[in-house]
Amino acid sequence: MTLKAPGLKAIVTVMLKPGVLDPQGRAIGHALGNLGFAGIGEVRAGKVIELELAETDPVRAQAQAEEMARRLLANTVIESYAVRLAENI
């Protein structure tokens, strides 16, 4: 059994900004079309990064995860990020 940290979990979603070409998303959309799925508009692919935090205060945890996203997890020249907190269970 893995011991879980008692704090919160931050779920960071990183996506290419609108207007930044996402050839991977386009290729996925194309492949879905090949599988027979119809009516697919634009497809965009991103990353989800889950972080276990020792911090138990949601406001501070949110701020900490956002700083991590800004400084490393996302390259804000090309990517946007969103941070969501969840109970670490």
């Binding site: 930044v20 070409l21 290729a27 490393l72 020249v77 090309i78």
Partner: protein, 230 residues
Amino acid sequence: MRAGLVIFPGINRERDMAIALQRSTGHAPRMIWHRDTDLDGLDLVVLPGGFSHGDYLRCGAMAAQSPVMGAIRAHAARGGYVLGVCNGFQILTEAHLLPGALLRNAALRFLSMDCHLRVERADTAFTARWQPNDVFRAPMAHGDGNYFADDDTLDRLEGEGRVAFRYVAQDGTLDPRANRNGSARAIAGIYSENLRVLGLMPHPEDLVDPLLGGEDGKPLFDSIANALAA
């Protein structure tokens, strides 16, 4: 002149780069492990190509956080010269020593082939052995070389003469077919504001020996050797 070559885990072009530097400068570069921070006495710091840290998260993102990068930032701030090729260019953008970012190639394919580069200006320490608008052949080998920056940044780079090289057809004309990775405004390499930090995607260091098919990339290293000869 003294050159240093930074070794990150996962890079693979350091020996080619060392040979190119030695051929032009007459000295073997100092090898610098990415955890070292001593750049004393170096005129030029080179970040070679490869796949530092396995390209985890984004190409160059992990290497940009290495201890050596703080020292490189200080070296650049005091007017030192920096050259980043391929992954080295990606690392320089991730470290914000150069603006913009390198996206996945527009057609998603890893590109391993020769390209032609046009020398946009021949009055810098990196290009003085060329003439403006000279075209030279360079090998490229990358999956993420699609240069991106917002329009304001691109306008500023062009306005300040900071575009170093563009992907062109063999005759030097701009042609979307020659811009294989889809780079904004066909940009293959850019300078810092003081023209002393250069990043580019293709590999001039891999074409400095007739035995390997030509010396098209050698003027880059000859220019550096000459400019930093003091």
